[in-house]
């Protein structure tokens, strides 16, 4: 048993240090996406208004270059789209610019990536697929090893046969009870 406990301690220590970074990634992202019904955890939206000299509602081939010239954007334009007689939409990397061709009113709507949160959510939700799937599976395996090895770290009344066992039981009962209640609706 002592040899087994020694192995558990080694595993728990080595993998524990290794898991710090990814655990913070998944935990921070977990809190953020847990409240997805309240907010967009990856993007912050914005609306900005301005005005240009109205180019008129003529043919798109003539009007679109005028609009782009008057907007004087400092970023690449993906595409333009004549959404209606009076409306030209300009698509840029992080948003859409609606231009009223008659009044010259410009409304820019966009989404900015939230610093840090966008990246941790990208990993947590496995948006990139492919290589990250393997890494995430490996991290999950590390967590399983940490959980199981942790059971055997401490001997005596603070360990599995004492307070530790009670806490472990509470931690198992909580999700089981929730799952049962959730199934009953």
């Amino acid at each position: 048993m002592n040899g087994f406990r020694k192995v558990c301690r080694w595993l728990h220590r080595e993998l524990g240090f290794f898991a710090v970074g990814l655990t913070l990634v998944y935990a921070i992202s977990g809190i953020a996406v847990n409240h997805v019904h309240h907010w967009d955890p990856s993007h912050a939206s914005y609306v900005a208004s301005s005005r240009i000299e109205p180019p008129g509602d003529g043919e798109t081939e003539a009007v679109a270059p005028l609009v782009l010239e008057r907007l004087a954007l400092q970023e690449p334009v993906k595409e333009t789209w004549r959404a209606g007689r009076d409306l030209l939409q300009v698509f840029v990397q992080d948003g859409t610019i609606d231009v009223n061709l008659v009044t010259g009113e410009v409304v820019r709507r966009g989404n900015e990536k939230r610093p840090l949160l966008y990246d941790v959510n990208f990993m947590h939700l496995n948006k990139g697929k492919a290589p990250w799937t393997g890494i995430a599976d490996a991290y999950a395996a590390v967590l399983i090893v940490l959980a199981v090895s942790g059971i055997f770290l401490v001997k005596g009344r603070k360990g599995l046969v004492g307070r530790g066992g009670v806490l472990m039981l509470l931690g198992i009962v909580l999700p089981v009870v929730y799952a049962v209640l959730a199934r009953r609706g």
Binding site: E79, Q89, F91, V92, K127, P131
Partner: protein, 146 residues
């Protein structure tokens, strides 16, 4: 120790998503010729129930779950909604302005003006005013990211 750190760093670099020009969503798109959106919208009932490939610039996307796109037609002002199964395909917000090809079944949804589904049997009730909303229920899409 140094070898472990080096190996981990190489792993992290290898895991970084490659900057791909073409991104496939869902089952992707078969190599069929696309039907112009204007042709579909000019005679929509002829296409109901058929599998189509359409393409166009994305002019709108679902802000909540990325479960639909609005594709610009080849005719100005026209758009076609491309719907996907919730959670199976999730279009990112950044896809607005990109060119997308989508494949799926063209559907006609009869909806009341109050946006509820039409009920065929409504005995004793006044005639329900319904409209038909056409959309492509896509099984896959491909985006040529700029």
């Amino acid at each position: 120790m140094r070898r472990i750190v080096t190996a981990l760093l190489l792993l992290a670099v290898a895991a970084a998503p490659a900057v791909a020009k073409e991104k496939v969503y869902g089952k992707g798109v078969a190599a069929h010729e696309a039907t112009p959106v204007s042709t579909v919208l000019a005679h929509p009932d002829q296409f109901v129930g058929k599998t189509l490939v359409v393409e166009g610039t994305v002019v709108g996307v679902c802000a909540h779950r990325g479960c639909w796109l609005s594709l610009a037609s080849d005719v100005e002002g026209q758009t076609l909604r491309v719907k996907v199964e919730d959670g199976v395909i999730i279009f990112p917000k950044e896809i607005v302005g990109e060119k997308v090809r989508a494949e799926g079944v063209f559907k006609a949804n009869r909806v009341e003006d109050t946006a509820k589904k039409c009920d065929a049997t409504r005995d004793g009730e006044p005639e329900v005013q319904c409209t038909t909303v056409y959309e492509l229920f896509a099984s896959g899409a491909v985006c040529d990211w700029k």
